[in-house]
């Protein structure tokens, strides 16, 4: 596993923006190609209509007024009104469509990202602050929508009008046109020299903003601890540092952005100045071609028109560069390997009986730090297997491997003879009932939380499951019974209660293989006694893996695996392991010593 990221470390970029990513980005615009092309046409209409308006004025001044033709004046006015109405409707259409396309593209990208998120391994979530994931999915996408809809179309329109104007200018006077283009190389040099600064600054800005978000989010989630430890002031200092850094990077980016407009403006006006200068010198020295003053004025008006789309295009390029810093992050995310994937020829795991077999399993979270080495054991269908041993020895790892949350480094695991690496992941996991150490509840009602185990379960079934795990009584004591909402971090219900609810959730899912990872640790002795019966009925006919420290939970298991740093140290039934008088037995001595003090005295 790569080193975990923290709030104060910029995430490194793996693949910087490249043409391929831009093309993939355009792919997202493809479904809306028809709308985009139509919009393009509409925009051409709007532009053309915009050019007609001055013409109306010219007609008024050149034709209608000299002829004192009031009828023509009215006619022109009417024509103008018609033009305005058409462009009104067109603009309206364009606004709606562009918004729709832009938002749809955002929607599509976001959906793809969220889909992808569902397939990423635990590692992805465990190795960076969650805020940084949130930022990618929710925020980055917002920044590219304009780029792919409105701006893209405008750029095309600008290019078209640029070409038209250029042709027109060339027709008017090729030599002057050459002078008018004198600024272009400077503009290109300018833009390209700013480019690399801008890219770097943007990237650093985004990383910084992601850091701030990550810290904010973790601060909110861990606020109770912060308050309990009176750490507020220190955290504010950290937060302020992060934000100051963000502010600095923002201003730096802004300063670079400011350069674009003045640059194009100065270059374009300088070009015009040169044109005027040249013409003036021609006139003074009587050299060069003799041009009418009217032609010059007209030509220069076009030079202005020529530079307007260039300025727009420069802006578009700047926007593109800024967008690129998001696009590269988006694709980095979308290309994040899923790691645990169905094999190409994966087949659905049929309804299983539950025989689980570990064959020489090796596994390590990090290279060189093996957790399991050459572990083999078999659990017959219907067996209940207890895993005991010191914390951190790898008990949770064993059960995580059965659900294929991680892939093995060596050996294989089979269920009913099917290698779990070769069956479809969903078909495997949906037959498992896993109760995690840390029961996560959704901020919705208790009923919905239980129903998460089987989405089509009726209320009655949910209640029956709750009764079976002895959760019913405490749920009924809640202000609104099953309709009581659980707060986001499960606040309002105790850890034991949360475990009961999540137990009911598993119960409802009627799994073929049941996995309880420290699932009843926070439940008091009395409730646990009652729970035992529910558990026993749940275990009947199912293979189950139970990790627990309470010996009472363990002793009735068919088989017990004592796991330590190197794998399975002892294996056998309760009686067998006691007779072995090894580490499992010594757990019992510990317990007895705890309860009765000196063993001999009581004996």
């Amino acid at each position: 596993m790569a080193r975990r990221n923290r709030y104060d470390i910029d995430e490194e970029l793996e693949t910087p923006f490249n043409g391929r990513q831009f093309v993939r980005m355009l792919d997202y615009a493809r479904p809306y190609a028809r709308k985009l092309i139509l919009t393009l046409l509409v925009m051409l209409v709007i532009t053309a209509l915009g050019l007609l308006t001055p013409l109306m004025i010219t007609w008024t001044i050149d034709i209608a007024i000299p002829n004192a033709d009031i009828g023509l004046l009215i006619l022109i006015s009417c024509a103008l009104v018609v033009i305005i109405l058409i462009s009104w409707v067109s603009i309206r259409w364009r606004m709606r469509t562009m918004n729709f396309v832009g938002q749809s593209i955002i929607h599509d990208i976001r959906l793809d990202m969220f889909r992808h998120l569902q397939r990423l391994p635990f590692d992805y979530f465990d190795s960076r602050p969650h805020g940084k994931i949130l930022v990618r999915i929710v925020h980055y996408v917002n920044n590219v929508s304009d780029l792919l809809s409105g701006s893209l179309i405008s750029a095309v329109v600008d290019l078209l009008s640029l070409a038209l104007i250029l042709i027109y200018m060339l027709l008017m006077d090729p030599l002057l046109t050459l002078y008018a283009l004198i600024g272009l190389p400077f503009l290109f040099i300018g833009i390209f020299s700013i480019k690399s600064f801008q890219r770097r600054a943007r990237r650093r800005l985004n990383a910084s903003s992601s850091n701030v978000t990550a810290y904010t989010q973790e601060s909110i989630q861990g606020m109770q601890i912060t308050q309990l430890f009176g750490r507020e002031a220190e955290n504010r200092l950290i937060y302020r540092d992060l934000n100051d850094e963000y502010g600095r990077r923002f201003m730096r980016t802004a300063h670079i952005d400011y350069l674009f407009w003045p640059m194009t403006d100065i270059i374009s006006t300088t070009t015009v100045m040169i044109l005027y200068g040249v013409v003036a010198l021609w006139l003074r020295d009587q050299s060069g071609p003799q041009i009418e003053v009217g032609v010059i004025v007209g030509f220069i008006a076009y030079v202005h028109r020529f530079w307007a789309p260039i300025t727009n295009l420069a802006n578009f390029y700047s926007q593109l560069l800024n967008g690129a810093s998001y696009i590269e992050r988006i694709f980095e995310f979308l290309e994040e390997p899923e790691v645990i994937v169905d094999a190409p020829d994966a087949y659905p795991l049929p309804q299983i009986n539950g025989e689980v077999r570990f064959e020489n399993v090796d596994f390590a979270y990090e290279e060189g730090k093996p957790i399991l080495e050459n572990v083999s054991f078999t659990a017959a269908a219907g067996d209940s297997i207890a895993l005991v041993g010191p914390t951190g020895a790898g008990k949770s790892t064993v059960v995580n491997l059965i659900s294929r949350f991680y892939d093995l480094d060596g050996g294989r695991i089979t269920i009913d003879g099917h290698d779990i690496a070769k069956v479809q992941l969903d078909s495997l996991r949906s037959q498992m009932g896993i109760m995690l150490q840390d029961p996560f509840l959704f901020p919705t009602t208790i009923m919905e939380n239980i129903r998460y185990g089987r989405l089509d379960a009726s209320d009655e079934e949910c209640i029956a499951a709750a009764k079976a795990v002895r959760a019913h009584d405490f749920i009924m004591r809640q202000p609104q019974g099953y309709e009581t909402r659980i707060a986001e971090r499960g606040a309002g219900v105790s850890a034991g209660e949360r475990q009961l609810i999540s137990f009911a959730r598993v119960m409802l899912s009627e799994p073929r293989i049941l996995i309880l990872d420290e699932a009843t640790a926070s439940i008091d002795t009395r409730t646990e006694l009652a729970l035992q019966q529910g558990l026993a009925s749940l275990q009947r006919g199912r293979t189950s893996f139970v990790i627990a420290h309470r010996l009472s939970t363990i002793r009735d298991s068919t088989r017990i695996l004592y796991i330590d740093d190197r794998g399975i140290a002892e294996e056998g039934s309760h009686e067998e392991l006691l007779a072995l008088n090894g580490r499992y037995a010594s757990l019992h001595y510990t317990q007895i010593r705890e309860m009765v003090g000196n063993l001999q005295e009581n004996d």
């Binding site: 990221n5 009104w88 569902q118 925020h139 201003m251 400011y258 003036a280 850890a495």
Partner: protein, 752 residues
């Protein structure tokens, strides 16, 4: 940051507050400026005062900009000059064409050409300057607001957090703040600019031709109508978008946090459906806004274009009648864009403003949320009766509109409003009320003139409008000072009842604790046992004031906990919570969370004491290993031990262990207890546990049932009582007996 920036950054304490203060010239020294908007008197970022700005986002933001108003005004003026200079090149070119090209007068050729280049250069310089100022001010304002929210979040109690999804707050802290920044950096001045240009344009056109100008002005009423309607209809759209954005954040946030569960249950499709619903709603919300926008913005555009119509028909007519010259008509037409442009642009600005308003409203709401648990320096414990009196006396005329709002925001209690008003009176008296043991006096030392912190009392720092350097210095000082304030460790509950106050979604449930009274002498160990949900955690949470008792008093060293400075109180209580929360930071930093400046030795010692000294060095980078958010990647037992080490490091006189060894194996549990026993007499320890072994040695054991203490006494006394405890003991003993029998049966006679 340079001095200049700091100058721009500076703001000051409020009018009203300085009136309360008797004499504090030092504060005045650091406060400055901002009298352009005298109608704003309250501090815009003070959670206690922000309700005055409810429904007045513009007033609010100008109050936030308080110290920067001078800069803002300067930049606005610069911006207007910049816009007007845009007319200059046309004039210069016109003169150039007339004199040089037509008049063949080449004497001033160089001057003309220089001017042509100089104007854009000057304009560029101006633009660079005003954009820098606007961006700087906007960024500073955004960061100030963000810090204020952060600070405020730190003071909100757990009931806020249990009702507000993280995603919602995140949406506020990102999207809404960005909308505010955009407003200050761009929308605000651009609106002013457009309005200004419009007005200038009208006066200019009037000077060219009065009848034509008047005819053009006929378009003004429709513009107003359109703007008003657009404003009114787009606003709810924005608030819908913002709410939908919050929900989108919530869904993603939950999905990320619950990633293990969604995978375990293979609920990918379900999750995608859930997300897709919000994702679509979000798109639709934007779509609806676009509909409204498409109704008004093109209409404004059309109105702008319609301005040309009277020129043709009326202008043409007037010229034909000989009332105006054709030159006038041409000039008029040439200048018409100064009216048309603002009309076209104003729609977008209205959109920006409404977006800003909704976001600002959300931020104001968030900042106005009141915490039930507050530091006595902010709001001392108030007796209901005098508070009510104070309320009738002090209600200011302009304050009345804000009061109903507080009721809404605040789980609607009368006394909170009363307390709010009483606060105005009592805040400056708090020094006398503050508890003796943890007097924050050192924080208020004034003998160091260079120290910014010394300039004002600690409560001053809570004025968010303060200078950034000041706040930083304050935080640094506070962090250092709060660490060392010993308590003796006597705890007493006097007739304490508690019920969770849940506003809105939940009904009020019954009392979680009912008339609890007990006293824990310093240095003793107390065990607490009871069934799931009997109120054990709730009881413990009252000691470090995660909640305040609904009635009755919790006392430490004989003083009501509500009278201690909150942070100082909590720093003296080490708590290991039932749910372990670890930060995605190194193991070292997690353990040193309560005392960030701790050295390696202290951290290792704490880890050893928590029996975590063996597994941490075996992690990939030992104490520098970064652990995942919430401690994922560690086993439950490992997390519990790190969280225990974190509590032990601060070496407090009160140690609270809330079922902290549930995931630890029995042997480790025993070692932990042995380790805690070493220093047993030095601190008061409260232990919640379900294993008899964990609490049997306690000086006193309390059994909690349905929020009441049903049994209390030592292990022996409770056994003699033969009730709940004895029952649990028998059950667990029975299990031991079974174990013994098993061992005998197995023929294992060895004694370890």
């Amino acid at each position: 940051m340079t001095d200049d920036d700091a100058r721009l950054h500076r703001s000051r304490a409020t009018e009203r507050r300085s009136a309360h203060k008797t004499a504090e010239p030092e504060i005045r020294k650091y406060s400055r400026g901002g009298r352009f908007f005298p109608f704003v008197a309250a501090d815009a970022l003070d959670p206690d005062e922000i309700w005055r700005f409810t429904g007045r986002p513009i007033a609010w933001i100008f109050a936030v900009l308080r110290g920067d108003r001078g800069g803002f005004l300067f930049a606005c003026i610069l911006n207007l000059l910049f816009s007007m200079l845009a007319l200059l090149p046309a004039i210069v070119v016109g003169r150039f064409v007339d004199t040089v090209l037509r008049g063949r007068d080449f004497r001033h050729l160089a001057v003309f050409l220089t001017l042509m280049v100089l104007i854009p250069v000057i304009r560029s310089g101006m633009m660079y300057t005003f954009r820098h100022i606007f961006d700087r001010i906007a960024m500073d304002a955004m960061l100030n607001i963000r810090h204020a929210i952060y600070r405020h979040l730190q003071r909100l109690d757990q009931s806020f957090y249990s009702e507000t999804p993280t995603g919602t707050v995140m949406a506020n802290m990102t999207g809404d703040l960005e909308a505010i920044r955009h407003f200050i950096a761009f929308a605000a001045f651009s609106t002013i600019e457009q309005v200004f240009l419009f007005v200038i344009g009208i006066s200019y056109l009037l000077s060219v031709s009065i009848p034509l100008a008047l005819a053009t002005l006929a378009m003004v009423p429709p513009i107003f109508v359109l703007i008003r309607r657009f404003s009114r209809y787009i606003r709810p759209m924005w608030s819908q978008i913002r709410s939908q954005f919050e929900r989108l954040n919530d869904v993603v946030q939950q999905n990320i946090t619950g990633n293990r569960v969604t995978r375990a249950f293979v609920r990918r499709d379900h999750e995608i459906d859930r997300f897709e619903a919000e994702n679509q709603n979000y798109r639709n919300a934007h779509g609806e806004a676009a509909q409204v926008r498409a109704r008004y913005i093109p209409a404004l555009d059309a109105v702008a274009s319609f301005m040309s119509v009277p020129i043709i028909i009326l202008g043409g007519y007037l010229v034909i009648r000989g009332q105006i010259s054709i030159g006038e008509l041409v000039t008029f037409n040439g200048l018409l864009w100064v009216l048309q442009n603002p009309t076209r642009i104003i729609g977008f600005r209205i959109d920006d403003i409404q977006r800003f308003s909704t976001s600002a409203a959300k931020i104001i709401d968030l900042l106005a949320t009141r915490s039930a648990v507050v530091d006595p320096a902010e709001r001392p414990p108030v007796d209901p009766a005098p508070a009510a009196e104070a309320r009738t006396e002090t209600e200011e005329p302009d304050g009345t509109e804000g009061l109903p709002f507080i009721r809404q925001v605040q789980a609607g209690t009368e006394d909170s409003v009363a307390a709010q008003v009483a606060l105005e009176h009592t805040r400056h008296d708090t020094e006398q009320i503050t508890a003796p043991a943890l007097d924050p006096a050192p924080l208020r030392r004034r003998d160091d003139p260079d120290d910014l912190v010394a300039a004002a009392g600690p409560e001053e720092a809570d004025r968010h409008g303060m200078d950034a350097r000041w706040l930083r210095a304050y935080d640094e000082r506070r962090a250092a000072e709060l660490a060392i304030q010993p308590l003796r460790g006597e705890i007493e509950f006097r007739d304490v009842s508690f019920r969770y106050r849940q506003s809105g979604t939940r009904q009020i449930s019954g009392d979680s604790l009912k008339s609890i009274s007990f006293r824990v002498p310093p240095g003793s160990t107390i065990g607490i046992m009871g069934s799931t949900g009997s109120g054990k955690s709730t009881l413990l949470s009252l000691i470090p004031r995660l909640h305040d008792a609904s009635s009755g008093t919790v006392l430490i060293d004989g003083v009501d906990v509500r009278r201690y400075p909150l942070e100082a109180l909590r720093r003296n209580i080490a708590v290991v919570t039932q749910d372990v929360f670890l930060f995605s930071d190194s193991v070292h930093n997690n353990i040193a969370y309560g005392r960030p400046d701790s050295g390696d030795e202290a951290v290792v010692a704490a880890a050893r004491a928590a029996v975590a000294g063996d597994f941490i060095p075996r992690m990939s980078e030992g104490y520098d290993t970064v652990i995942g958010e919430r401690g994922v990647g560690l086993s439950g037992g490992q997390r519990q031990r790190i969280s225990l080490a974190r509590a032990l490091l601060i070496d407090a006189r009160i140690l609270i262990l809330d079922d902290t060894a549930s995931a630890v194996d029995m042997e480790t549990d025993r070692l932990i207890r042995a380790s805690l026993n070493v220093r047993r007499g030095e601190r008061t320890t409260l232990i919640v546990a379900s294993r008899i072994a964990s609490i049997r040695d306690a000086d006193c054991i309390y059994i909690l049932e349905n929020g009441e203490i049903v049994e209390s006494g030592t292990h022996e006394e409770l056994l003699a009582l033969d009730a709940y405890y004895a029952d649990i003991f028998r059950t667990q003993m029975g299990q031991v007996q079974t174990t013994l029998d098993d061992l005998r049966k197995a023929g294992s006679h060895g004694t370890p």
